[in-house]
Symmetry: D2
Subunit: 408 residues, 4 copies
Amino acid sequence: MNNKRKIINDPVFGFINIPKGLLYDIVRHPIVQRLNRIKQMGLSFVVYPGAQHTRFQHSLGAYHLMQQAITQLTAKGNFIFDSEAEAVKIAILLHDIGHGPFSHVLENTLVHHVSHEKISLMLMERMNKEMNGQLSLAIQIFKDEYPKKFLHQMVSGQLDMDRLDYLKRDSFYTGVSEGSIGSARIIEMLQVKDDQLALEAKGIYSIENFLTARRLMYWQVYLHKTSVAYERMLISVLLRAKELAAQGTELFASPALRFFLYNHIGPEEFHNNPNCLEHFIQLDDNDIWTSLKVWGSHPDKVLSTLSNAIINRNIFKVEISTDPISPERKKELTYHISQKLNISLKEAGYFVSTPSIENHMYNPDDDSIDIIYPDGTIKNIAEASDMLNFSMLSKKVKKYYICYYRFA
Amino acid sequence: MNNKRKIINDPVFGFINIPKGLLYDIVRHPIVQRLNRIKQMGLSFVVYPGAQHTRFQHSLGAYHLMQQAITQLTAKGNFIFDSEAEAVKIAILLHDIGHGPFSHVLENTLVHHVSHEKISLMLMERMNKEMNGQLSLAIQIFKDEYPKKFLHQMVSGQLDMDRLDYLKRDSFYTGVSEGSIGSARIIEMLQVKDDQLALEAKGIYSIENFLTARRLMYWQVYLHKTSVAYERMLISVLLRAKELAAQGTELFASPALRFFLYNHIGPEEFHNNPNCLEHFIQLDDNDIWTSLKVWGSHPDKVLSTLSNAIINRNIFKVEISTDPISPERKKELTYHISQKLNISLKEAGYFVSTPSIENHMYNPDDDSIDIIYPDGTIKNIAEASDMLNFSMLSKKVKKYYICYYRFA
Amino acid sequence: MNNKRKIINDPVFGFINIPKGLLYDIVRHPIVQRLNRIKQMGLSFVVYPGAQHTRFQHSLGAYHLMQQAITQLTAKGNFIFDSEAEAVKIAILLHDIGHGPFSHVLENTLVHHVSHEKISLMLMERMNKEMNGQLSLAIQIFKDEYPKKFLHQMVSGQLDMDRLDYLKRDSFYTGVSEGSIGSARIIEMLQVKDDQLALEAKGIYSIENFLTARRLMYWQVYLHKTSVAYERMLISVLLRAKELAAQGTELFASPALRFFLYNHIGPEEFHNNPNCLEHFIQLDDNDIWTSLKVWGSHPDKVLSTLSNAIINRNIFKVEISTDPISPERKKELTYHISQKLNISLKEAGYFVSTPSIENHMYNPDDDSIDIIYPDGTIKNIAEASDMLNFSMLSKKVKKYYICYYRFA
Amino acid sequence: MNNKRKIINDPVFGFINIPKGLLYDIVRHPIVQRLNRIKQMGLSFVVYPGAQHTRFQHSLGAYHLMQQAITQLTAKGNFIFDSEAEAVKIAILLHDIGHGPFSHVLENTLVHHVSHEKISLMLMERMNKEMNGQLSLAIQIFKDEYPKKFLHQMVSGQLDMDRLDYLKRDSFYTGVSEGSIGSARIIEMLQVKDDQLALEAKGIYSIENFLTARRLMYWQVYLHKTSVAYERMLISVLLRAKELAAQGTELFASPALRFFLYNHIGPEEFHNNPNCLEHFIQLDDNDIWTSLKVWGSHPDKVLSTLSNAIINRNIFKVEISTDPISPERKKELTYHISQKLNISLKEAGYFVSTPSIENHMYNPDDDSIDIIYPDGTIKNIAEASDMLNFSMLSKKVKKYYICYYRFA
């Protein structure tokens, strides 16, 4: 009876409608379904146990907001062809398919200098072949090669549906309710002016709130020191695994993970050797967790100690500073650990990490938002807002961390 | 069975517990119950029809947060006597009992220069007599005459339970979800240092969010131009009614409203003549609405036209400007109205209003919030936050409005 | 820019869209705006202080659900003309305009045997004249005189938008969260078969849940014994006021309330004398509360005692029984009160009330819901559900109350 | 500063407090942390993509409700020693530690006739040794060997915190909002009478609602036909893997999964061979998913076809019937599949499954709830409720499914 569309329940937005046909075929495609096995927030569950939602849910949510944004813009008299509307919905559904498990970790360890955007594009092109070119328009929009620029901006821009969904969703699932943003109101205020996405002036407070909510989510959630430390542990263990692999040591791993452990994959390799992509899409959170559990009893003390620490939640201690960590401090800690664990200094290096995190909350290049006044004039949010200190927000804040193994 | 405490359902916070005894007696007292008949947000329902919640609900909500704050502070090792805990809960329950209907309107028309805080105090003292001095400690705290200063700060201060409740509640009832604040987290972060209420440093993002949410609520809700205009209409009609009363014209009014229409009540009168307080507590939103409906058929054209316009939602037009409205513009509009309605220029004056609204979002005197760092040092939020532009926020923003009668 | 429609914030459903034109003109009409001054749940706030929402909000909410239901039915291939869609939206917007303050109370006191549905219809016809017949189709649907019967069923039937909104909304505002129903899912499952509104079989659990949620709301909220007692008090005081009025005693009242106090208005009078309707639309919650406060100092002891008890929340005691209250018990209580208050037995009668409340949770005539199976067959919910005991539910449950004045 | 307790954010209940010390040590224990890697709802995400929450979150939630229940019962005058309160909180925190991945699937394939309750107990005893007997009281309560029986009932009984949490939580995460129950109100209504947990009579509607919500969750969510089919696929593939393992075929698997694939483990073995438990706690959702992905390219056609179908969401078709599936129908389907896939009839058997699901919504043994009336009398819910048809609810409903491979 009700077979013209599929309804999916979403705890954040209620019912999400997907028309049967191309859009639903995409949602069901193995490459999209794979996102069901990749958590949106990676290791954040270590602090916020509710953060279990997947990149699949996020993609559906962003698609839902795109639907609403298009309805809104059309109601305001902006003409959008049905084919364009479908393409921009496809583009947002597919914008994250290039993510691997624990994206940032992966980019620092198993795959070198290959961005998830690039991989997304490679996968879209692969799907496009399979689907006889039905995704061509979506790909053009994704690559920002389509004349109507504002369509690309809804996929990737200052006010894109990606951000609107992930801030709303991550706040919902972590339980950090004050990180919630007025996505519905922001969408109500969207407008297009000279082919640029912009916001009606009465939405300015929603944008200020969006920027402070985002900042709160960054420091309180995404960059929470315990998550940062946990991530450093995962990086350490994967680097150690790669080192052991390079030495020919046998390590338990699924074939996909094995491929990236035993081979050094850089951007060129990734683009030229189709094996890479093939193995990449086989990889998800499960491969990593399964190996970590097995590595817990590996004879290599570095690998096993770190793996067990991750699995059993014995998280690195963290100290944060506004000044760089002194080499002496690091040396001293490393020495101490090498003594306690009876390992070499080089090996002990895997138990100490000194990342620095740089974050400017407002990047004029990325975040500049145009505000349209009723008389048609346009101002940049940095000019339009009398509240936020954009010059200060634009300054990069750099924090120095030292994370190190915690003895029970 | 369950007779040791009373549970009241609250859509915002769930169940609110009130122990039987003094606290419950206060909740049931006619002077507190009267707040059931006064809307928290006055005329805001004209824009946000959900804004129907009462000052009674707000008082209960603030009491509930006070309960949580005390539990929190005690758990952190701050000693609070049971008698103090009860007193500070009484103080917050009673902090708003001096409000009349449409507070700001009233202060500009029927009651002159008598603040609601003063009236709250007068009513507390009256109740205290009736209750044989059981409120004395609460009154001391309310007046900030109690040695432990932080108790007063929880009732009235930068981080008081009043603000935490009303921002949360008003955002909930208006449906402006992005105005929601993390009241639970802010309470978790409360601490006392040198007898001053302060916030632990990791709560700083919640405070930034609290300040932007408040700002959003101010401009988008409390000072929404349509509400401002509606309020000006009510001021106009009450001033006209007082003028007619002064001339001896008969006006329909309840005895309580009649008292304030036919007498000029200033602060001295209010304090010395017990009749004033007696009539004041008889007054609530109902008296005003009932009279407005009746005045709609009064022979005085000014009174009836304005009353009907309020009742039937024919709201003044509004223009906003950053410069003062020119006297010519006002004159011209007044003239036009006098012609159209065939009334004198003086009478036409009731149909034009040029309020200016001044608001600095951050007032160092009122809003300075102390942040405690783990090492015990304290910084002011203006120093501690690297996001908000406090020098700019401290500047008063002044907006000039012109509101005038709209012909159908 | 955004001037083709009006967006109203609703805490329950988010944004409600109203296209400018006829629909928005209706929303702004004084007869609809009057519902802003009538609480949806009358006196229920005495138990659930959050129950302050208005009939206006309910009407908007039901309108919003109607919009969604039409979208849904159309998507499933049921053809609905734009004019029909508009008319059915108008009908639901207007379905409650005939309500007076505290409907049930009024029907027992000031207005005799005139149902609010009849008054709604009279008001619709009045508005229709004013609007040059633009409401004719809506009125036809409201009266169930339009050939497509299912349209009427969406306004008033087993699955009408009225019920779906009020259960959802009342549960939201009282904070009785388990009374919430899956209105969105029920609407997703709507279908039309042989011009009858029906539900797809997979929605059957939602209907069972809807029926139990409704039952919970009835006994736990609408018929809460404290609310019942409070309502009896209001009936008593209004009957006393009418009695005094009949004797020529002077009572404070607005002209509208005065009209219904000093005249006996039955159905014929109401229909024939245009004055009745004129005064009726002037009447709302405010008139009642204002008079009650003034009557608190009336020389008539019955009137003043009851008025003060209502205002100051000294609520009648209640006992509930499954057997009728014995005349002796009533007599004894009445006698006791007459002694204590030093009034006649007849007067003491106003302080004792023995209502009985009959409620069958499932009325086959009103509540029969058709369930459509994928093969096209139709079953009644009573047959289709293997969970609910419909024969038992259809039995009327009768409860006997005795409510009487509580001495401090 | 705030080091006496740990606060964990929960999207369902807000902040959950855990005092430092024994309780927090338990939460951090590897055996409890392992629940972070097991989804509460197993394969239900295939229909409800939001159902990603873990058994760890559920355990914390049930612990939180236990805290509230104890506060409530204590406030009503039921004496509970601090040591008992701590023990019952430990018991609920640990009640699910014996779950493996996809519990029901596992019990049908890898582990035979070993209930998760038994395993929970074994693990508790293991932890108790490690923790020097600090869990002894908790274990006594868990095993129902402690004299105060009502404590056990709060862990496992008709109104236990387990059910109250999982219904609330599963409804939240699936987005099936009408499945939500009034857990807070049910807890408010708890009482102990003659050492039995019971409910105050005014909570009866909440229980009716709880029973219908549970029923809705069962048929609409837990036993959704697509989930049932998906589960059958996982059972088929694991049975095939075991068969291949028995034949000595090499299969990719983590050591823990390998142990259960290559050995036949029944209850005796499980209890006597400590290796079983050791491997069991290494097993979680990740091992299964990782193997399925690898098996997708295994030379065995049955194994690879089924694995790919699971991974790529090519779900078995399902037909449901109230009568048993005829052997002919099954035979015919099996034959068809054997032809299409060019495999033996025996092998084709893995692609057809005919489970029957029996569910009586109300089991007098498990679900009988005592209702206490104000006069102290007690009635069973089946007697007390005049709404639900308990005789009908007690009848087992049996549904017959046929699930079979779907060709693209």
